[in-house]
């Protein structure tokens, strides 16, 4: 079937791999990271094992061995990002992509060829490096990680490479020079650095077999999303038809303003037709945020049994009284503080969401409601009147604040959804601006007024109700 003919992709991949092996700037780091680096890791493993064993901390050493295997495998695949940027944007910059585009190749065949050529050589280097490292462990009679951990690390390495390369393609569609692409690559490097840290935490601290598989699953989903977006944008029209490196503030503003304003004639019209439409579009994300909220409250409550907190008897009443004496009721300062703190948290949520297709943008919601679930359960365990405390201390302002957080979370999730949805007639940059405009509509139209109201209630009304109940 001609439609699924992958031979042209293999021809592209073969040429590119051959080309890479003629470039010492690519060969040198791969060889260094494949052959020298694993020895260094072996040496590190031996020294650290000896050191920690002196203090009876064999567990640390035991967990260090697979982590070093992960790092040994990761370093060579980090080169895949450079290769991919060079392969996709470098061809654009040198103009060698145009003859390719005039050949009878389908866009996806070219994409696949480049994906393979950017992923396979670093992966081969990575597996070679891991083999050298494991060989070193065997020679030095250091116990090997168990089979499942090794399999997890191998699968993780492959998915990380695919994520980096497919991310590089998305970045490449937004640049016509390697320099611009390298700058944009921070959108890949920073999340990957965070991911490695998260993997380190899982491997050293919360080590259980399921956690790493969850990371693999998350990476696979991410890879699929990135490949989908990459395929949608890696098309002839977009590769040749647009000059996108120049920062065009006027264009950015026009796109933003057109979408933010949405053609409304006045504020009332904006609330009614524009924001109303945005909120309607937000219904799926809102449902996801509500479901997530319920889950984290339950999970938070469950954690109370794991991280139990026993309060000294009588302390609660005393604290409430102390709280009552120090309350700045009627002042503006606390309103400002609470409001700004909440806004800051939501902006951090937005920034995290931008790097993670909206996923990490749920953190403010997860943290707030997770803690609510946790402390509610702690209060029950400590035989405090949880229902009364929640009703008097949380519900008065929470009834306004929680919807605001839910809306903000839904808006960030919507950004992720839009970024992950291929739109052939728009660049990733355009989609990004449109998504931010949508988030701003929700923030300015609803979330900020609600947060301000919640801050006023929390400062001026909630303390009075608490004192009335418990003071």
């Amino acid at each position: 079937m001609e439609a699924l003919d992958i031979r042209p992709a293999l021809i592209i991949a073969q040429r590119e791999v051959r080309d890479q092996f003629r470039d010492w700037r690519i060969i040198f780091p791969i060889v260094f990271l494949t052959l020298f680096f694993p020895f260094l890791m072996n040496f590190t493993a031996r020294q650290l094992l000896n050191f920690v064993n002196q203090y009876g901390a064999g567990l640390v050493g035991e967990r260090l061995i697979p982590f070093l295997l992960l790092i040994t495998g990761f370093f060579p695949i980090s080169v895949s990002l450079v290769i991919a940027l060079e392969s996709f944007v470098g061809e654009k910059e040198r103009g060698s992509i145009e003859p390719l585009l005039t050949s009878p190749l389908a866009d996806w065949q070219l994409y696949l060829g480049k994906l393979l050529s950017s992923t396979v050589p670093p992966l081969v280097g990575s597996f070679l490096g891991m083999s050298v490292y494991i060989g070193g462990l065997v020679i030095n009679r250091i116990p090997l990680p168990d089979a499942e951990t090794m399999l997890q690390i191998i699968v993780l390495t492959i998915t990380q490479a695919v994520v980096m390369v497919s991310g590089a393609v998305v970045v490449s569609t937004q640049a016509t020079s390697v320099r611009a692409a390298n700058l944009l690559a921070s959108f890949i490097i920073i999340p990957m650095a965070l991911l490695i840290q998260a993997e380190a935490v899982v491997m050293f601290w919360g080590r259980d077999t399921l956690s790493l598989w969850w990371i693999v699953f998350g990476l696979l989903v991410l890879a699929v999303l990135l490949i989908r977006i990459g395929l949608a944008h890696f098309q002839r029209e977009e590769l040749l038809g647009r000059e996108i490196d120049v920062l065009n503030i006027r264009w950015i503003w026009r796109i933003f303003w057109d979408h933010f304003r949405g053609g409304a004639r006045n504020l009332l019209d904006w609330y009614r037709s524009v924001l109303g439409k945005t909120l309607f579009e937000l219904r799926g994300s809102m449902l996801a945020a509500v479901v997530l909220a319920v889950i984290v409250i339950i999970l938070g409550a469950q954690q109370a049994d794991r991280f139990l907190l026993i309060l000294p008897e009588g302390e609660f009443q005393e604290r409430v009284r102390e709280f009552g004496f120090n309350l700045p009721v009627g002042g503006v300062g606390s309103v400002q503080q609470i409001f700004l703190q909440n806004v800051r948290a939501l902006i951090v949520g937005l920034l995290l969401g931008l790097f993670s297709f909206g996923v990490l943008g749920t953190l403010p919601l997860v943290a707030t409601l997770g803690l609510l679930g946790y402390f509610t359960r702690i209060m029950e365990v400590n035989q405090l009147p949880a229902a009364q405390i929640i009703l008097s201390g949380v519900v008065p302002h929470g009834i306004v604040e929680v919807p605001a957080i839910l809306l903000s979370t839904a808006a960030v999730l919507r950004i992720g959804f839009l970024l992950a949805t291929p739109m052939k007639d728009k660049t990733v940059g355009e989609v990004f601006i449109i998504a931010i405009a949508g988030w701003m509509q929700v923030m300015i139209g609803l979330v900020l007024p609600l947060l301000l109201l919640a801050a006023m209630i929390e400062s001026w009304i909630t303390p009075l109700i608490i004192l009335r109940f418990f003071g």
């Binding site: 021809i11 051959r18 040198r94 103009g95 060698s96 003859p99 390719l100 585009l101 009878p104 002839r236």
Partner: protein, 312 residues
Amino acid sequence: MIYAENLTKHFADFVAVQGIHLDVRAGQVLALLGPNGAGKTTTVRMLTSVLRPTSGTARIAGYDVVAEAEKVRSSVGVLTEHHGLYSRMNADEYLTFYGRLYRMPEGLIEQRKRELLEQFGLGEARKKKLGEYSKGMRQKLALVRALLHNPPVLLLDEPTSAMDPESARIVRDAIRALRSDQRAVILCTHNLAEAEMLADQIAIIRRGRIFLNDVPERLKQFLLGPEEYEITLRDGAGIPVEILPLGVALSRQENGRYVFRIDQPEEKIPLLLKRLLDQQLPVLSCAPVPRSLEEAYLRAVSLHEENGNGSA
């Protein structure tokens, strides 16, 4: 072979190409002339199914550029503005790579490589890294790549730019040979002399519109008026005005060289010469005054400006 009707391309608010009509038959060369940014490259990209037209249709070798894009690309050989050579490859590897992409059998790739590299004088450099090629060699190799799969349609962007006169001649000969071989060729060029030498049709594009499209002679006649002829007399002898036949007007004279504007030259020149000889005037020569395409092009551009960028 190449047919386009009302071909239009917009990039957001910018109109790159507007309502282009083209009809290039097998064995014809069309020169597409125009300043930088006129829309030549966009037109070529639409004709090679690289860009999708905003409106209008085009067929290449019988295939629709939108619905049958892959077949169109298989039928076209394109010399792009950027040669797009890979500096770490040699010519042999480079052409094999493209031959495979065009799904040519290995034996045919070898045969075509050998023939074309020899034809363009690159036979000895086939194993040399392309990074070491001169500009002219790169240009020739890019042309070889465009011809490798023996396409019925060729779209050539500045095929002789950066070439030495000898190489340029080889390339021009190759284009003539392609024409004889019933290929349809579109030549985008700034080299008007070359266009005049090679083209059967000239299309002048400006601000995205083709405002003139005709055979070179008719274009010149339209833009520069009827053809002029120069008659030279020995020893600066004079021509009495009363002997000139009707339809022959003296344009200018200098030292026995007379330039006439003549309607229906086939009929009037023999009559004029007969009268001169009857008067026993010492005629040394009679020849048309050469008029360059450049002159016509510049006239066309100024006409286009005068007419407010409409059709001339």
